[in-house]
């Protein structure tokens, strides 16, 4: 432990302007453990099992994923149908209230709100997962190239990554989303993914660099294993711990960012398939007369984002060598 503290020391002193990078790097450093791989996860799990924060996060996340998976089959109504349309009157009754068969009432198009919330979990999950996945893939590519090749490639890639990191993330997503000629769910996903790329790139590159000089990589190299085989078989798998942590946190960020972009009108224009962020955005019109229309999706977003955040933060703490005492 002392050893790790000491290697950390110079980082903390020199790059004093970049705490955010430090955090990512510290996470990356977590991948160099004396006994990489399974035992790390096992010891982390041992700690996590007793962490109430993690358990709450896990419960929320599992419930969310399960709901998203089975939503279309348990939703009482077709989310594109408008069974309550006859009751919609723009002034007197813009949003039909609850009634038997419609637990939470309908939305402004007379569609069953409860069903839309249920099924909305699906699209929300899709946006979160794909945004994180794309971000991860981009970051993986950049980080692997930089970390594996080193030298000027590393400098160049990292310079770009640092510039991207310095732009406030939401502003960047906002910019990318408004750049799209024809907004769709995918432009939303890509906008959010781009924000994630530099974070993953830096994380992976840090983990790679840390491992380039580690014993098992040196051993593999001395045995004449081909460089790319080393990268994919030895370095990448060992960098997965911090990546999983960051991905969990990114899922929360992606869901919140999607909500913010939808709020600004940059979300998915096709409002048939419900998505929470978009439902929240559309509910702004009824905020005075039917605030519940905004509260339900907002509540869902908050709970799910909280679930991912709680889980991610406790995972990070469990993997952080400093907190293991």
């Amino acid at each position: 432990m002392d050893k790790i503290d000491q290697t950390d020391e110079p980082t903390r002193r020199t790059s004093y302007g970049q705490r955010r990078k430090d955090r990512i790097d510290a996470l990356a450093a977590a991948s160099i453990d004396e006994e990489p791989g399974i035992s790390l996860i096992r010891s982390a799990w041992k700690r996590l099992r007793r962490n109430p924060i993690f358990l709450v996060g896990l419960a929320i996340t599992v419930a969310f994923v399960v709901l998203a998976a089975i939503a279309p089959w348990i939703a009482p109504w077709d989310v594109t149908a408008s069974p309550l349309l006859d009751k919609v009157r723009p002034q007197t009754n813009p949003v039909p209230g609850p009634e038997p068969g419609h637990l939470l009432g309908g939305d402004d198009r007379g569609r069953d709100l409860f069903s839309r919330l249920l099924v909305g979990s699906r699209q929300t999950l899709v946006v979160g997962v794909f945004a994180t996945l794309f971000g991860l893939l981009g970051g993986l590519t950049l980080g692997t190239i930089a970390g594996a090749l080193g030298g000027w490639v590393d400098s160049l890639v990292m310079r770009i990554v640092d510039v991207l990191l310095s732009v406030p993330s939401l502003l960047l997503a906002f910019t990318v989303a408004s750049l799209a000629r024809e907004p769709s769910q995918w432009t939303l996903i890509i906008a959010i993914a781009i924000v994630q790329v530099p974070i993953f790139a830096r994380l992976l590159r840090g983990a790679m660099l840390a491992q380039r000089s580690s014993d098992h990589v040196l051993a593999a190299r001395s045995l004449g294993v081909r460089p790319w085989a080393i990268v994919f078989r030895h370095m990448l798998p060992n960098a997965m711990g911090p990546v999983i942590v960051q991905a969990t946190l990114s899922l929360a960020v992606a869901i919140i960012d999607a909500a913010a972009l939808s709020f600004l009108g940059l979300g998915n224009p096709d409002q048939r398939q419900p998505e929470w962020g978009q439902m929240l955005g559309l509910a702004q019109r009824y905020i005075s007369e039917a605030p519940h229309l905004a509260f339900y999706p907002a509540g869902c977003i908050i709970v799910v984002a909280l679930g991912f955040t709680l889980m991610g933060e406790s995972l990070r703490e469990a993997l952080d060598p400093k907190s293991r005492r």
Binding site: S82, D86, Q91, R109, G265, R285, S288, E289
Partner: protein, 557 residues
């Protein structure tokens, strides 16, 4: 009631005008009761959705600017409050010569500008010459002049306006190139208001310049001087408030409140909350969803008569299948517009039977709406061999217009109907300022929703705008065999001098457009509303959304 353009009915016109003027006067009198004088009669605070561009109405283009300048400026002709009718304002009467090219305006003799300058025929001609004589930047910035007059002094032959002459101290003669239904109604446009020649001169009012992407305005644009019931106070940019003060020397009845404040609150729900908190006294275009709630909280929602049209535009150049009239009719029959109007649009909205609201002259009352008949739609599609019709159908985001409070929802309803008859809809969208309009004009969409709010009472201002320009219109009428005929007929009808004849010509055209051409599908007319808080009286809602606030009183508790 369209009387004033036929020389034969000259006398009648004058009489009618006088009557109307007195009507307006008596209305003002009614509201007067306890007001008047230079005392402090309270402040009317109006929540504006956006900041004004500047304060010279000539260069202004948006409603938020006009709403402010309207309180300070007047034109030669005005609009009767609560209607779209033209009434005398700074001119008491006007008479054209026989061919309708020279118009003599008799001016009020008791008007002075806010800076003390006298209002007379010279001032009128100074104003017209000033508007006519624009530099390059001014020609693009002076959009409304370009729109109604066609050209500026550097291209004088193509301009409707030909000159102005002071025939007497209070008699101005304006020459135009030829008769049109728009003149002199167009003089009621806020942009063509009368401004103080001295202030224009001193403020270098025409010294507009293009700089980068925008126009830099001369000093005058921040210190406007008109003749209206309010004078310019100050623009507190940091706090987003514009303060106007009562003009105590106003020629008519003095404004009822001593101060008029516009406060910029871009967010709709915030405007409502501010109204309920009592920090503003009213705002424009309340969300129809909120109307009932606002009323029950003691506010009054003033619903205007609709003066707009929402339509589903079709572009045969983008999708050749639409060239078949039966296909277009099928689309029309597929739309359940009654349900749309009742479930998506505010009370007072109506299903449209043609491309203009019934308050416009030339409206054809005999046209029957296309029935909602999905079976007929399917039959027509089958007949045209277009059962598998695929339609790229678009709507705009980030916008709310009087004719479409919520484009997304209207679109969703239309899309559902179209899909119900077997049409495949490709959803397209773009933000209003972010390419939607470009894509519409560039013909990128097969179908789209769009609309129009009338500038003044003129049929040509509606259907002329839509189909009058053959080369450049959003409906791609050039692709139809009848496109040119329609454009020519519209221009011919517009040039008819006699009001009744012209009205009849436009009625016929409306019938033809709906029966034989159907270049697009008129959907509905929506009434935009205005809301004022408890204790506020005297607001006269205008179909042109051109309310004047001088009659407004802010009652106490």
């Amino acid at each position: 009631m369209s009387l004033r353009r036929n020389p034969a009915t000259l006398t009648a016109a004058v009489l009618a005008a006088a009557t109307l003027a007195s009507c307006a006067d008596s209305q003002r009198d009614d509201g007067d009761g306890d007001g008047g004088g230079g005392s402090d009669d309270g402040t009317f605070i109006f929540g504006a959705a956006g900041a004004p561009e500047m304060f010279d109405p000539f260069y202004a283009t948006d409603g938020e600017t006009f709403r402010v300048t309207r309180q300070m400026f007047e034109g030669l002709v005005g609009i009767k409050p609560g209607t779209a009718e033209v009434v005398p304002e700074l001119a008491t009467e006007w008479t054209p010569n026989d061919d309708g090219t020279e118009w003599t305006f008799t001016l009020r003799d008791d008007v002075t500008f806010h800076d003390g300058e006298a209002f007379n025929a010279e001032a009128v001609c100074y104003n017209f010459d000033r508007m006519f004589d624009q530099n390059e930047a001014g020609q693009t910035a002076g959009e409304y002049w370009g729109y109604v007059m066609g050209a500026f002094s550097n291209d004088a032959e193509n301009s409707l306006y030909q000159g102005c002459e002071a025939a007497g101290e209070f008699e101005a003669v304006i020459s135009i190139s030829g008769p049109t239904s728009g003149f002199p109604t167009m003089l009621s446009l806020e942009s063509l208001s009368m401004q103080s020649p001295k202030a224009l001169e001193e403020g270098d009012a025409n010294g507009i310049a293009a700089e980068g992407e925008g126009f830099s305005f001369p000093a005058y644009a921040d210190a406007p001087v008109g003749t209206g019931p309010f004078t310019f106070g100050e623009y507190d940019e940091a706090n987003g408030t514009i303060t106007l003060a009562r003009n105590d020397d106003y020629w008519g009845d003095a404004a009822q409140t001593s101060e008029l404040v516009f406060r910029v609150i871009p967010d709709e729900s915030t405007r409502r909350q501010e109204l309920e908190a009592g920090s503003i006294n009213g705002y424009d275009l309340p969300n129809p969803v909120d109307w009932a709630g606002l009323e029950s909280d003691g506010n009054s929602v003033e619903v205007r008569d609709p003066f707009n049209i929402l339509y589903l535009g079709l572009n045969p150049e983008a999708n050749p299948a639409l060239k078949d009239l039966n296909v277009r009719k099928a689309l029309y029959h597929a739309l359940n517009r009654d349900q749309l109007v009742s479930t998506q649009l505010p009370e007072g909205a109506a299903v449209a039977t043609q491309f203009m609201p019934d308050t416009v002259s030339g409206y054809n009352t005999t046209i029957e709406p296309y029935a909602y008949d999905p079976d007929e739609a399917k039959r027509l599609l089958a007949e045209a061999g277009a059962e598998d019709l695929e339609l790229t159908f678009a709507y705009p985001t980030e916008v709310s217009r009087p004719y479409m409070p919520d484009p997304e929802k209207i679109y969703e309803a239309l899309r559902t109907d179209l899909e119900a008859v077997g049409i495949t809809v490709n959803v397209k969208t773009a933000s209003w300022n972010g390419g939607y309009l470009d894509n519409v004009t560039a013909g990128k969409y097969d179908a789209y929703i769009l609309g129009w709010t009338g500038d003044y009472d003129s049929p040509f201002n509606f259907i002329g705008t839509f189909f009058g320009n053959l080369k450049e219109n959003d409906f791609g009428t050039e692709a139809y065999p009848w496109g040119k005929t329609l454009a020519d007929d519209l221009r011919a009808a517009d040039a008819v001098v006699d009001d009744a004849e012209r009205g009849a010509a436009f009625e016929t055209l409306n019938q033809q457009i709906m029966d034989e051409y159907l270049p697009g599908l008129p959907i509905s007319h929506s009434p935009p509303a205005l809301v004022v808080g408890p204790g506020v009286d005297g607001v006269v809602p205008s179909p042109l959304t051109a309310e004047e606030f001088d009659t407004v009183t802010v009652g106490g508790e």
